[in-house]
Amino acid sequence: MNFDIAVAGNPNCGKTTIFNALTGAKQRVGNWPGVTVEKKSGHYNYSDLKFDVIDLPGTYSLAAFSAEETVVRQYLENDEADVVVNIIDASNLERNLFLTTQLIELGKPLVIVLNMMDMAQEKGLQIDADTLATLLGAPVVPVIGRTGEGIDLLKEKIFRVSTEVSNKARLIDIAYPRDIEVEIENLSQLIRKNDITDKHTRWTAIKLLESDKQTRDEVRAHSNELDILNQAKVSIDRIEGLFKDTGRAVLSHARYGFIQGALRECVVETVVDSVDHSRQIDRILTNRWLGLPIFGLFMWLMFKLTYDLGSIPMDWIDTGLVALMNFISGLLPDSMFASLLVDGVIGGVGAIAVFLPNIFILFFIIAVLEDTGYMARVAFIMDRIMHNIGLHGKAFIPMIMGFGCNVPAIMGTRILESRRDRILTVLINPFMSCSARLPVYVLVAGAFFPDNAATVIFSMYILGIVVAIASGKLFSQTILKGMSKPFVLELPPYQRPTLRSLSLHTWERGYLFIQKMGTVILVGSVIIWVLGYFPTDVEVDRNYSSEKNILVSHYDSQLVDLESKLNMSIEKDRLEYHSEMVEYESSASYLELYQQFQILKEALASERSRELYSLRQQEIGDITEQKWIGRVGKVFEPIVRPLGFTWRESVALITGFVAKEIVVSTYGVLFGVGEDVDEGSQGVISGLRSSGMTPLVALSFLVFTLLYTPCLATVAAIKRETGTWAYTFFSIGYSLALAYTLAFLVAYFGGKFNWLS
């Protein structure tokens, strides 16, 4: 025997916390069918019975305004849940109870949870739970979700309500003013007589009085529709005539009337001299003058921590990977398989794996911003700017998340109510420079702008934001005309985040990234390796091995020269100045001479290895040019030549479509770094420098990388969230065209006016 339990409540009431407390770690995240609203489910056992729990999205009402409300309403109306658990923020009773009045009318067995009892106490609210239970006709369980206090009692109550058959009939009704009750009764009689719905009769009658579209459609499907709809019209007219307002507004006011009456009976408010901490904090954080600078500081800190803190474990991973590659290379004979494993799989996935610390840190910080309640303030502070491009302040949140990864960010647009807002935010999101692009910036900027790398990277981020805003403005005045939904945003109290919830959020999002490494990036790396490995029998015009021999013998002979010069100088020195000395070898004069020559020798050795390396890279370049990867690049080279790119860049960009980080892995293959792993990214940097790329081309390449077609995973997310291929292809085409244009402008004007030279 198992029971279906649905958890419902307002946003920020602690629903997720209670859901986690009930189900522990046994939960699954999916989507509601047809809409892009997250569906969380889990289960627990109590007294040998299994309880399946569904965490419904947070809503203020069952009005079916937003996608969330529609989901909640459909789920609850269609009889799937055996018991509804309504979570209420005890420190904010009045508004939270509004949803409760609707849940009561729905007629499902209900358990009411008074969460945040600690906060209520702090506010000086004493709530008589028993009286409230009597007034609402449902058990009321006070809990503190954060500490888990009261959860056992809650489980017991849920168990009782699920198993008691008699309790399934609702005991109380929300009492409306007499004039309204009369109309509800009129409609109820008709509905009952015609046996029109298997839903609670009173609920249907009330929804008809509210002119609820969904309910009207349902009635319309029935043969006696006219009787009922006519009666509904008569009733609504009567109510509107009496109360001078729409049926729905009248009923909502009446619900609040009921709530106020109930609260008078069961809440005692003692005046405590406790301060409203949130308000104190907001005096500073959303202060007229300090609000924006502090927000800017937080953003700056977010990036600073992400990159500085992340670079420490990054080095460890890098070292570990190099050791692993060397170990495997040593273990396996030189073969195709060894190359696939070392260069393809470990090299390709490893190039991305080093960024995991950055990504996890960023997601952690975003979780902190969300869990503390600061994100709502971000929406508050930024609304004015977002409003300018026809968006809601909340749309700034997915934009910030876009800095981490566009995929969860695009999924995050679900927090927006209107479809137009969601599509607009989805379309501009890819321009927010995600962390996958960072490796490319670090590599290229490091190679060509070693002194100003940070500035160059930072300007890429700024360019992304500017392009996003400009595109948003453009779209909202052309293809997505219309106003955004009214801005009605709750600013919940600040909360100290719990480590548990922070790590859960960080893990949920970070895991997506690990998944991506195991799938898209792994496959992409193997494909690039295949393209770079075959055909195996390529011929190059230059005779590299003889050139190498010449180089080697040249340096060898120089070394011999140097040695003999040293010996001669020493001999001369001893004969001329120290002939009588017994222990000449430990004299200061000898040591000085010796050291001088040592320096010369080292200089010679490093020159030798540099030249050999550069020769080796030219050879690899020549060879790769004839591999499949090079041939593919050659095909597209004419198209990208106006931007200053060669076949190498065209290959890198094509492979970057799989995932932007792969641009780096591709360069690794193109410059044959796999065979000389100790060089690590230094190899790619020197390869890039010797490939003939100029700083200007590098800049144009960075601009292109920032703007062009989002990666495959993002494309999939765009398709999922917009629901149409049209917007998906539009997004691909638009960003490609924009990237080409801007990169061209950089290359053209930069060349014309001699920037960077």
Partner: protein
């Protein structure tokens, strides 16, 4: 118990002197007289507790002067000035 029979202000034709929520300064309190605007907007606000006769306090304005932060029914809520303009209030001492 229910005081619905207050004559309805025709907001769209409201006279110039009508005080609006957006006219209140930070720290000032008001009582809601009527909510205008589209049906969906009105209903959303009512459901969030901005009901007729409810007391509402303007806490502050955002750094860029818009939106505004309000306190109603013991919680904090944010509205844009252009929407607050659709809400007629009377000032409370």
């Amino acid at each position: 118990m229910f005081n619905f029979k207050r004559p309805r202000h025709k907001l769209n034709k409201a006279n110039e002197n009508d005080l609006r929520l957006s006219d209140l300064k930070p720290g000032e309190k008001g009582r809601i007289i009527e909510i205008g605007g589209s049906e969906n907007f009105r209903h959303r606000l009512i459901e969030m507790g901005i009901t007729r006769d409810a007391e509402i306090c303007v806490d502050k304005y955002a750094p860029l002067r818009d939106p505004m932060e309000l306190i109603v029914k013991g919680y904090h809520l944010s509205l844009r000035g252009m929407d607050a303009q659709k809400i007629a209030v009377e000032r409370l001492a």
